[in-house]
């Protein structure tokens, strides 16, 4: 029978440092996937996985044995990744990282028309182009928006989980997700819904009452 995570944690806390290996081997792959979705870079993600485990080890006393270890570890990974993205953003502020225009509404004649019918080489090319645009648009989000959006949209985490992981109020977590989607719409809707501009874009992004 497999030893539970809580039992392994207790073993480590009792002084058996090498027992921590079981936790690393059990969870490193899933943490890697989570971190990769947020950073989009393999090498950065591998280093963040190591740092997540180091941080977990250092604060293992604060882990409550009745809690779920993978959820706790996930929160550490998200926080560490957020710190990393914030630091990277500061480094990159002077660089023009992404090539998507600030206002794609003005990119007339440059819109990608995605045909609805069968896939072919053209469609595959367009799909690759779309992926590039999505990656670029995600790159324009603030670190907190990116992490909140990834958690909600890609990982299917609840707003409560996001607020706990990022130490935000529920309303702030909702707002982060909303602001992320709003920015993505601004960048991507000209390509995903060509010819039918959003009423929010038309009216300067304000809600209609």
């Amino acid at each position: 029978m497999e030893v539970t995570d809580a039992a392994v944690v207790a073993q480590v806390l009792a002084g058996d440092r090498d027992a921590f290996r079981v936790l690393v081997e059990r969870h490193s792959r899933s943490i890697f996937r989570v971190v990769y979705r947020m950073t989009g870079n393999q090498q950065d993600s591998e280093e963040l996985v190591q740092e997540t485990f180091l941080r977990a080890y250092k604060s293992l006393e604060r882990f409550e044995l009745r809690a779920n270890f993978s959820t706790w570890l996930y929160r550490i990974a998200v926080n560490r990744t957020l710190d990393f993205l914030n630091a990277r953003k500061t480094q990159m502020q002077t660089k023009d990282m992404y090539q998507i225009a600030d206002n794609p509404d003005h990119e007339e004649g440059n819109q990608v028309q995605v045909p609805a019918d069968s896939p072919g080489p053209d469609r595959l090319l367009l799909s690759a182009e779309m992926k590039r645009k999505i990656a670029g648009a995600l790159g324009l989000l603030t670190p907190a928006e990116r992490v909140a959006f990834t958690m909600r949209h890609m990982e299917g985490r609840s707003i409560e989980e996001i607020s706990q992981a990022l130490d935000l109020k529920v309303s702030a977590a909702k707002n982060s997700v909303f602001r992320a989607v709003q920015k993505l719409r601004h960048q991507l809707e000209p390509y995903t819904s060509p010819g039918s501009p959003s009423r929010h874009a038309r009216w300067g992004g304000s809600a209609v009452k």
Binding site: R29, R37, Q42, V49, L184, S196, A207
Partner: protein, 254 residues
């Protein structure tokens, strides 16, 4: 009629809008909001989860080896002995003892210190330098042995592993000291050396030529052997440098 706000529409897509039933009723009745919702839906559906590449085989093992060498010691004797409540009491007692020692030191009559004792910190620095120099020399010999091992058929690395394990423990101590001393040269080198020593110490004792090649690749990466030689000789020459006559430079780098 009031339309739904953009926030309500976006949050409704994820099922997070407040008064969801009301939003639902509005969408059923309002063509404009329905069209807006469809646009949001169409855009978000195109954003698929980013597929993470599958990490290389042995990813877990590599992660562990890198983490292991950096883990601080946990669960020392006192830590295991004391629960969270007792820890505070223990801390209080220690603080009282410290205060008592400080007061005793202030008011206790002190004999004159001989001048020669002032040079003691410099001597202890020198001892550490000599030990680090010796450590780097031993590490260099081990790395050279592995680089020159005959790579035909299965290779027995058990003696090299024992040596690597031995070096790994002292490497950890020296690395921590070098980090605390803020040594920009020795600390990163010991960090890099620790990873390679961990790889040797934790690998199988009998390796194939391919495995040996991988270990050699780790040694060669970032010029580890060269750095060990250069820094080792620099540390040895620092250890041999004549001491200042009085006072000394206590903050001398490791």
């Amino acid at each position: 009629m009031n339309h739904l706000s953009e926030e309500q529409i976006v949050l409704h897509y994820y099922g997070d809008a407040e008064e969801a039933a009301e939003v639902e009723r509005h969408l059923a009745a309002c063509v404009e909001c329905r069209a807006e919702f469809a646009r949001v839906q169409s855009m978000l559906r195109q954003i698929e989860p980013l597929e993470a590449p599958e990490p290389l085989p042995g990813f877990e093992q590599k992660t562990w080896l890198n983490v292991r060498d950096r883990l601080p010691d946990k669960g020392g004797f006192f830590r295991r002995l004391l629960g969270p409540q007792q820890k505070w009491i223990f801390a209080g007692v220690m603080a009282l003892l410290l205060a008592a020692a400080f007061m005793a030191g202030r008011f206790w009559p002190r004999p004159e210190q001989p001048l020669a004792r002032k040079a003691e910190p410099v001597n202890s620095q020198r001892v550490v330098l000599v030990a680090v120099g010796d450590h780097l020399e031993r590490s260099q010999m081990l790395l050279v042995e592995i680089m020159n091992a005959d790579a035909k058929g299965p290779i027995d690395l058990s003696s090299e592993q024992a040596e690597a394990r031995d070096l790994l423990d002292s490497n950890h101590l020296y690395r921590v000291s070098a980090q605390q001393a803020g040594d920009p040269q020795v600390a990163p080198l010991l960090d890099q050396l620790g990873r390679v020593l961990a790889e040797i110490a934790n690998g199988p004792s009998e390796v194939s030529p391919q495995d040996l090649q991988q270990v050699r690749h780790s040694i060669q990466s970032e010029g580890l052997l060269f750095k060990v030689r250069v820094v080792g000789s620099e540390v040895n020459s620092r250890a041999r440098r004549p001491e200042p006559v009085s006072g000394g430079n206590v903050n001398q780098r490791l």
